[in-house]
């Protein structure tokens, strides 16, 4: 059963699924608790990417995410513009906003908010102190229309906002609005404001249009147009709109030419904006939006150290750690073992570690005896995958299985009795005792044996990631095993995870899904395998992986526009 159309708003716990798994299993096995183990077996084959047959999947409109919208506005209209927050929530599907963006629409209330946002953005962009730099020409009169100044301005803005040159009809419609409004409002710049609003609320700005064309070098398939490639590359690597050079390259047709594409790609990868793109990839994959939405809340009485600024810094710590690690082109797998990180004093209080730097961020190496190493020991993960009042070995284990290893953990059955598991007042004082109590229950044991041994290794970290040695007065036993590799604590879990055969291939799969905005299709599985092999050969360097993905046929070609899919009831 695919859940490709799961609306995130109905999903309490976002559950990405491995499409590979569904293909491997007969229908009767789908959803079986031990299914995830089968996926492990599938990860081992090898083949060379050059000889791989690829039948790439379809393309669809991609609605800009909130962050992409804001960054695009800043890049085109100036970083002084304050972009309203919470315009229309992003849709997260199959564990990614990037996938949800190919489903998200614009509801009446959404459009109302986009229009209001456009009005305040245009007003700020054309405010007296900023307008001359943006408009780049002086009207003959400040109180009337001036076609000759409005037209080049709107042509330039339109190209940047639509990520392609405007058609003459599109441009003339905007010039007409500018002129008509300038006369109506007796203000040249007031007229430009409304014309700018009409660009900002257009579906051509709010959605990235990915278009296919016949591939001249191979008539049997479709490829993305050069202009579509520009947006795909830019939003993937920088999480923002293409810059002028990239648009120019696209207009020359460079991005459908192997050599020219490779040259342009090197420029994009060398840009400091790559850091923004990497942060966006991992924020999306790890669902760090929950920190921004204020949803990682803890009970103040139980966790006095919890504050919203602290929890936001915890997110930032992890992102800084990831970006610094990957920017040095170190082995991706070592993210789960590295002692290197960054801390603030505020975080130091929760980690119970002295932070020498008086203010702001400082590089920090977790001491050998701190019990901390790797991302899984960070506050961010442990707080995100926990309840407001208690830790959750199951949620943490589920995250590792589904997001880091791309294995499916089925949902719990409908008619369950949790009372033995969750009664913290009784004889069962630690999470391990409570969870082990129901491993004897057949309906529970299959799935919990997948998640709990992982999560229990993290039980030394409470619901805000603070270190503890006991729970309800009983000592915590953090030992366990990950698919046959035993460990004694969280650091051991990180080491076992870093050696897990699914870790690298899972990042490849997730990066690919992020890049194309949908799950991989059957015709792309061989490519993913080959990309996984190359990733391993490269020593798990992210730069090599990005190059391989972006130059792959899967990224550059398509079966064509996505067709509608019947969903829900037969009605």
């Amino acid at each position: 059963m695919s859940n490709a159309n799961v609306p995130s708003r109905l999903v309490g716990l976002h559950v990405p699924r491995s499409s590979l798994l569904s293909q491997l299993l007969p229908p009767s096995f789908r959803g079986a608790c031990f299914a995830a183990l089968v996926a492990l077996v599938a990860a081992g084959c090898t083949s060379s990417s050059s000889s791989v047959e690829v039948e790439a999947g379809p393309v669809a409109l991609r609605r800009l995410t909130a962050e992409q919208y804001e960054r695009s506005i800043h890049d085109v209209l100036g970083s002084h513009v304050t972009v309203p927050s919470r315009i229309d929530p992003d849709d997260r599907r199959d564990g990614l906003l990037a996938v949800g963006s190919t489903f998200a629409g614009v509801t009446p209330s959404g459009l109302e908010k986009y229009e209001a946002a456009a009005a305040t953005i245009a007003e700020q962009a054309l405010a007296a102190e900023h307008r001359d730099a943006l408009v780049q020409c002086q009207p003959t009169s400040l109180t009337g229309a001036d076609d000759a100044c409005a037209r080049p301005f709107l042509e330039r803005m339109g190209r940047q906002l639509f990520r392609r040159p405007l058609t003459s009809e599109e441009l003339e419609a905007r010039v007409a609005i500018a002129n008509e409004s300038a006369r109506g409002l007796a203000s040249f710049h007031g007229g430009l404001e409304l014309a700018l609003v009409s660009l900002l609320v257009s579906p051509e700005f709010l959605f990235r249009v990915e278009e296919a064309e016949d591939d001249t070098s191979n008539p049997s398939r479709q490829r993305l147009t050069s202009l579509s490639m520009a947006s795909r590359l830019s939003y993937l690597l920088w999480n923002t709109t293409p810059d002028d050079d990239l648009l120019a390259a696209a207009e020359r047709g460079d991005l459908v030419d192997d050599e020219a594409l490779a040259v342009e790609l090197e420029r994009l990868l060398a840009s400091p904006k790559l850091e923004t793109g990497l942060r966006a990839i991992f924020s999306d994959l790890y669902d760090f939006r929950q920190f921004d939405d204020g949803l990682v809340r803890k009970d103040a009485a139980l966790f006095p150290a919890y504050t919203q600024p602290m929890i936001e810094e915890a997110k930032e710590q992890t992102l800084r750690t990831i970006v610094a690690h990957l920017a040095q082109d170190l082995d991706y797998r070592e993210l789960f073992t590295t002692q290197e990180s960054f801390l603030t004093r505020r975080l130091g209080v929760v980690y119970q570690l002295p932070v020498p730097s008086p203010s702001g961020w400082a590089p920090y190496r977790f001491p050998d005896d701190s019990g901390r190493a790797g991302l899984l020991s960070h506050i961010s993960f442990n707080a995100l995958h926990a309840h407001p009042g208690r830790s959750s070995a199951t949620l943490r284990g589920n995250f590792v299985r589904e997001v880091l290893l791309c294995q499916e953990v089925p949902a719990p059955p409908a008619n369950i009795d949790f009372s033995i598991v969750e009664d913290t007042a009784g004889e069962l004082r630690t999470a391990r005792q409570r969870l082990e109590a129901h491993v004897s229950n057949e309906a529970c044991s299959g799935c919990h044996s997948l998640t709990d041994p992982i999560g229990l290794a993290l039980e030394n970290f409470d619901a805000i990631g603070m270190y503890r040695q006991e729970e309800n007065g009983a000592p915590i036993d953090s030992s366990g095993e990950l698919d046959g590799v035993p460990y004694s604590d969280a650091i051991g879990l990180g080491t076992a995870l870093s050696q897990h055969p699914s870790l690298g291939p899972c990042l490849v799969r997730n990066l690919y899904r992020y890049a194309v905005g949908r799950d991989a299709e059957r015709g792309e599985e061989a490519l993913l395998e080959a990309l996984g092999d190359r990733f391993a050969e490269s020593g798990y360097r992210i730069s090599e992986l990005l190059r391989d993905v972006l130059l792959s046929e899967g990224f550059r070609t398509t079966s064509g526009p996505r067709e509608a899919d019947a969903t829900g009831d037969e009605s």
Partner: protein, 451 residues
């Protein structure tokens, strides 16, 4: 008549013929609707949906007596509250017990099947999916074009991704989670205060219409470049454009002639979260804002999600969430229910009473705003511990402009929940003979509450 004065005023105010293209649109709007808002004319009928998660204890919630003067079991005691306008909350609330969501052999997806069955009269074939439009959007499609806002959606636990107003599987109306943001949206600069002196339409409003016209001109070019999946999404986008044009038409027509219309007081600073006190306070603020919005005919349809269907409400200082407790907490053998989980039911019913009390606090016509409302209160399950979907609790508050008898207990005797939704649609003026599919198809309204 006043509306002709307004139009004359419009033409006089705007800067010449260049921006007069919006005026003809007004004719259509006013002919259809203007009389409804003239003084002495019938007051508008409004619909609301209010949802709380994780149900109730049937033995402690369902009244024993049917008809008027039904008894109030402990979990309905909030309805015993006195209203300042006279009478008690219960006098305005009908209770529906024993109405079931029928699975027809489909899975009882926990919390989803019961919720979707109640709100859509259809059952999902996959978990987390929306099989058909929710009741509020069905009604908004009919009456939403008459007001500035087609509908207002609100959520009281601070999560922008949780609400149950769906046009379709892929089209969810995102809720307001912040009372401050809702206040700004409704009562901010665009609000035409009928008590603020002569109405002068903002010239920019008409220019906004021309902006939207330009956007519509892009439509055909774009449609040619996409597949059927995206054509559906773009159709939704352009439907939204038309809705926004209608909203602007309404703004251009000026404030409605409603005596009870006042600008709402600004809410204090937001305090959002899942702690029960936060949700209760947010619900009160949302109810207050929406009551003012209804009195000013800014919208005729609203929905409030008090708590998620998998309720994440919590008590300060407790390590457990409401939903967890419904499954975890043992039934106390002495009292026969789960004491800690059941506290959340009592608090939820108090919050429901808060909404009703708030609507009754605004005088309107010979009575109160509540008399011209029909608000459906409901949950996603009956007994949450077992995800029960027989006897899903439902209530209707308000007099529906005299179209229904309030204060009645109706025992459904295993009738589908969709009968309540069918009744609501018919009372709201929709021409609909049946609602739902398979065993969820309802053809008979609930005559016990019809006048």
């Amino acid at each position: 008549m006043k509306r002709f004065d307004r139009r004359t005023l419009l033409r006089g105010t705007l800067a010449g013929g260049a921006v007069a293209m919006g005026v003809p649109l007004l004719d259509c709007f006013l002919n259809d609707n203007g009389s409804a808002l003239a003084q002495g004319a019938p007051l508008p009928l409004r619909f609301g949906a209010w949802m709380w998660g994780c149900g109730m204890n049937p033995d402690r919630w369902n009244p024993q007596n049917v008809g008027v003067d039904y008894d109030l079991p402990i979990e309905l005691r909030a309805l015993d509250r006195e209203l300042s306008s006279g009478g008690k909350v219960r006098d305005y609330v009908s209770v529906f017990s024993g109405f079931d969501v029928k699975l027809d052999g489909r899975p009882n997806f926990p919390h989803t099947a019961g919720l979707m069955g109640t709100l859509t009269a259809n059952l999902p074939v996959e978990d987390y999916t929306v099989p058909a439009p929710t009741l509020d959007t069905i009604i908004a499609a009919e009456v939403g074009g008459l007001t500035r806002f087609r509908s207002l959606e609100m959520s009281c636990t601070g999560n922008p991704n949780q609400a149950y107003s769906f046009e379709s599987q892929g089209v969810a109306n995102a809720p307001e989670i912040s009372p401050t943001a809702l206040y700004t949206r409704v009562f901010g600069p665009d609000f035409a205060d009928p008590n603020a002196g002569p109405f002068l339409p903002e010239p920019r409003l008409m220019l906004r219409q021309s902006v939207l016209s330009a956007v519509k001109e892009d439509r055909e070019r774009l449609l040619q470049r996409v597949g059927t999946h995206d054509r559906q999404r773009l159709d939704q986008y352009f439907t939204s454009v038309r809705q926004l044009e209608q909203q602007i038409d309404v703004l251009l027509a000026g404030p409605p002639d409603l005596e009870s219309c006042r600008k709402a007081p600004a809410p204090g600073a937001d305090d959002l979260g899942t702690e029960i006190g936060q949700a209760t306070k947010t619900n009160q603020l949302m109810a207050e804002l929406v009551s003012f919005a209804l009195a000013c005919d800014q919208t005729r349809v609203f929905s409030i999600m008090f708590s998620d269907r998998i309720s994440n409400l919590r008590q300060a200082g407790s390590s457990s969430l409401h939903h967890q407790l419904t499954h975890d907490e043992p039934l106390d053998p002495e009292i026969g229910y789960q004491p800690e989980a059941s506290e959340f039911i009592l608090v939820s019913m108090e919050a429901w009473a808060d909404v009703i009390e708030r609507l009754a606090a605004i005088p309107e016509g010979d009575g109160t705003l509540l008399d011209n409302c029909l608000v459906l209160g409901h949950s996603d399950v009956s007994f949450a511990k077992v995800h029960g979907i027989t006897g899903v609790p439902m209530m209707i508050a308000g007099g529906a402009s005299g179209a229904i008898k309030p204060g009645v207990h109706v025992a459904g005797a295993t009738a589908p929940t969709s009968r309540v939704g069918l009744t609501i649609q018919q009372v709201m003026g929709l021409t609909v003979e049946s609602w739902g599919t398979r065993s969820m198809e309802a053809r008979q309204p609930i005559s016990e509450i019809l006048v």
